[in-house]
């Protein structure tokens, strides 16, 4: 990988800092310009050839479309929640390049282990929009049959694992999956997403350690978005980067400007290539920023003045990519408008359909608890239909 990679044989503080703990980085947008942070996309829309992943123009447009679509969906879903039509949404506003750039580096055989903000990755891997919206309503067509909160889907067909609420649990699972695949000589890697906050979880540390020892083909993708609900990164860790945590476990790590699509694609492709070469795991710290509240249940005004967002809004990943498109492909507002109209129509149509789909059947609640329905669940199901009749009690 690049010269700025955090390899295991050099001190973590490549940006010239001492080993003394400092404020964790990415609190300020300037931090994304530190020497060790991989960047490709310049302010004027041109690309730094040093790390350019050399995407074809059509690829760039496809990713741009996907990012815009995800953002528009976010807006629409927040509105639906405010109207009381869905119960919850957790989105990726401001983190679109980090999510789409990384997932676009995966190959068909690879598996994604999501955190909960990566619906863009699920859609990229083929989850039909209709199914995603069904999940928002928890209806009968929801891939997880109305059992989990909105944005907690599973999409096996697209090699997209289950969104799990307890923080960090997917990180060890992604390692186990990739490790077992390696034992079975299946050539694949896993890409696991988690937040900066999740690096405090025990699973993060267990996962990195195991992946280091067993050279597991896994890509750890830390979305450092500056916040864990109301807790800023400097109260999450006193390390001066999250990437440096890889060093301790013998897992090479790299920091990347998470709002730079090209840089994210580059480091994610490199990491998957490393995994494919049998060289083991990589930790990517993507420095980005959560522009929205934590979820629709959160009002960030209580802990984060709006003015703090301004510098990050200037680093908006979609705006930056758009500048590149203008420069290289003569992108126009009319083309933006075209995307907007198309996405709007598609989203509206899907919502109209999902909203009318019935809830999952009562019977469905007793399915999938075990591989085969055991007698006591069959009995419960029948009782529910007939009205409760606790067994073993007289009166009839």
């Amino acid at each position: 990988m690049s010269t700025a990679t955090y390899s295991t044989d050099r001190p973590p503080n490549v940006s010239g800092a001492s080993l003394e703990p400092q404020a964790a980085v990415a609190r300020h947008p300037l931090d994304t310009c530190a020497d060790d942070v991989i960047k490709v996309l310049r302010d004027d829309g041109s690309l730094d050839p040093a790390h350019d992943p050399k995407l074809a123009p059509s690829e760039v447009i496809a990713l741009y479309r996907a990012m815009v679509r995800v953002r528009q969906l976010d807006e629409r879903l927040v509105a639906l929640q405010r109207q009381g039509r869905i119960g919850f949404h957790i989105g990726s506003l401001g983190e679109e390049a980090a999510v789409l750039g990384s997932v676009s580096a995966t190959r068909p055989q690879d598996w994604v282990f999501p955190c909960y903000r990566e619906f863009g990755a699920a859609l990229w891997r083929g989850l039909p929009l209709q199914r995603y919206i069904d999940n928002m309503f928890g209806n009968a067509n929801d891939t997880v049959k109305g059992r989990q909160m909105p944005d907690h889907y599973t999409y096996r067909e697209g090699h997209f694992g289950s969104v799990s609420s307890p923080i960090g649990t997917q990180i060890t699972q992604a390692v186990g999956f990739a490790w077992a695949a390696k034992l079975r000589r299946d050539e694949l890697a896993t890409l696991v997403y988690f937040g900066d906050g999740a690096t405090s979880s025990s699973d993060f540390h267990s996962a990195l350690n195991f992946a280091g020892v067993f050279k597991v083909p896994v890509v750890f993708f830390c979305r450092n978005n500056g916040w864990a609900i109301s807790v800023p990164t400097e109260r999450q860790t006193s390390s001066n980067t999250f990437a440096c945590k890889g060093v301790a476990y013998g897992v090479p790590a790299v920091r990347v400007d998470g709002n730079d699509l090209f840089a994210v694609v580059k480091v994610a492709r490199d990491a998957i290539a490393r995994a494919a070469r049998g060289e083991g795991a990589t930790l990517i710290e993507a420095m980005t920023y959560r522009l929205s509240g934590h979820s629709t249940s959160d009002d960030p005004k209580a802990y984060r003045p709006d003015a703090w967002l301004d510098p990050w809004r200037r680093l908006d990943p979609i705006e930056r990519l758009r500048r590149h498109l203008e420069r290289t492909q003569g992108w126009t507002e009319a083309q933006d408008r075209e995307i907007e109209v198309a996405v709007d129509a598609e989203v509206k149509a899907c919502i109209a359909v999902s909203e009318k789909v019935a809830p999952p059947s009562l019977d469905s609640m007793f399915e999938d608890v075990y591989a085969e329905p055991p007698w006591h669940l069959v009995e419960q199901r029948e009782q529910l239909k007939a009205g409760p009749r606790p067994k073993g009690h007289g009166g009839r």
């Binding site: 919850f88 979880s201 807790v231 007793f366």
Partner: protein, 327 residues
């Protein structure tokens, strides 16, 4: 007396005990700057500062273990989990350490620790966020488990818990935080552990409940009254220690019992209560003891399904009918 919401009563208990004893501190995710995920700890960071109201990094096993260590040295930690669901990540610290250190150390170590959080179902939070964790923890010797339904009990019991020299687990409920009730202002007011309360007197059937289900039982009792059935409601308040005397006294009067709780029936606290009743009041019973519980499946998210899975007043009423041979 002041009318307080449940969340305010919990807060009042913590504030009074922190003022009374400087060894008491509060730690958890979002308890400080955010004022608590459910605003239970509002104003506490300002009042006590960041030495005593501590925003923890996201590692329940970590800050539980750290608090066990702090308790060993003589502090009296209050640990807040965002919900009891996330305590599962700290289960080993609770089961193998908090609960057993006194016993394993031959009595040399004392762990005066309070663990508290909302418990049980909330509205539509799905499979992983809706657990009734009291059933897991009440199983463990060395722990005390409280689940008050009323604001006054929340305050009085939490104060007792903080003064207790054992690990005490305190179960709140997101659905109860807004409930109002008269709460004594006297800083010396406490509710002793292990004492149930009769929240409604009746003669035909005893409904034994705790936490949110006490309120559901009250709803059911009002319906039953319309049919001429007089239900007595025993609010256990404390699940371990368990006030079997009050339960037995009630059943001795009514001769019929329904235990109503959230959480799965299999091996739950309701089964424990039913066992006590059949052992200690066998001759008094006119019908088997029944339970109105959450169905034996993980909680669905879909609102319609969730309503079927969570025990409602109707499920209590159906079971009351059955112990009265009315269905």
């Amino acid at each position: 007396m002041t009318v307080l919401r449940y969340r305010e009563a919990v807060r009042a208990a913590m504030i009074e005990e922190m003022e009374r004893d400087e060894r008491v501190y509060l730690v958890g995710e979002e308890v400080g700057h955010y004022q608590g995920a459910y605003k239970v700890t509002e104003g506490m960071l300002d009042k006590f500062g960041s030495r005593r109201v501590i925003d923890a990094p996201i590692t329940e096993s970590g800050f539980t273990g750290i608090s066990i260590g702090a308790a060993m040295v003589g502090l009296r930690p209050i640990v807040e989990y965002m919900t009891w669901n996330f305590s599962a990540v700290a289960f080993d610290q609770i089961l193998n350490n908090a609960a057993k250190l006194r016993q394993m150390s031959g009595g040399q170590l004392t762990i005066p620790l309070v663990l508290r959080a909302p418990n049980g179902s909330a509205r539509q939070v799905g499979s992983q966020h809706s657990h009734s964790m009291e059933h897991f923890y009440a199983h463990i010797p060395g722990l005390k488990v409280l689940a008050p339904a009323m604001p006054a009990d929340a305050k009085g019991l939490l104060k007792s818990a903080i003064r207790d020299d054992n690990p005490v687990l305190f179960m709140e409920s997101e659905t109860l935080y807004g409930v109002k009730g008269e709460v004594p202002d006297d800083p010396d007011f406490i509710v002793p552990l292990g004492v149930a309360s009769i929240v409604r007197e009746g003669t035909d059937v005893s409904i034994i409940a705790w936490s949110r289900m006490v309120h559901v039982a009250l709803e059911a009792a009002a319906e039953l009254e319309k049919e001429g059935i007089s239900a007595e409601i025993v609010d256990l308040r404390s699940l371990r220690p368990l006030d079997e005397e009050t339960v037995v006294r009630s059943v001795t009067k009514t001769h019929r019992a329904v235990v109503a709780h959230e959480g799965w029936p299999y091996g739950g606290v309701g089964a424990e209560v039913a066992d006590r009743i059949q052992r200690l009041a066998f001759d008094e019973l006119d019908a088997p003891v029944l339970r109105a519980t959450t169905l034996d499946v993980p909680m669905p998210y879909n609102a319609r399904l969730e309503q079927y899975v969570i025990p409602q007043a109707a499920r209590i009423i159906e079971n009351v009918h059955r112990v009265l041979y009315k269905s």
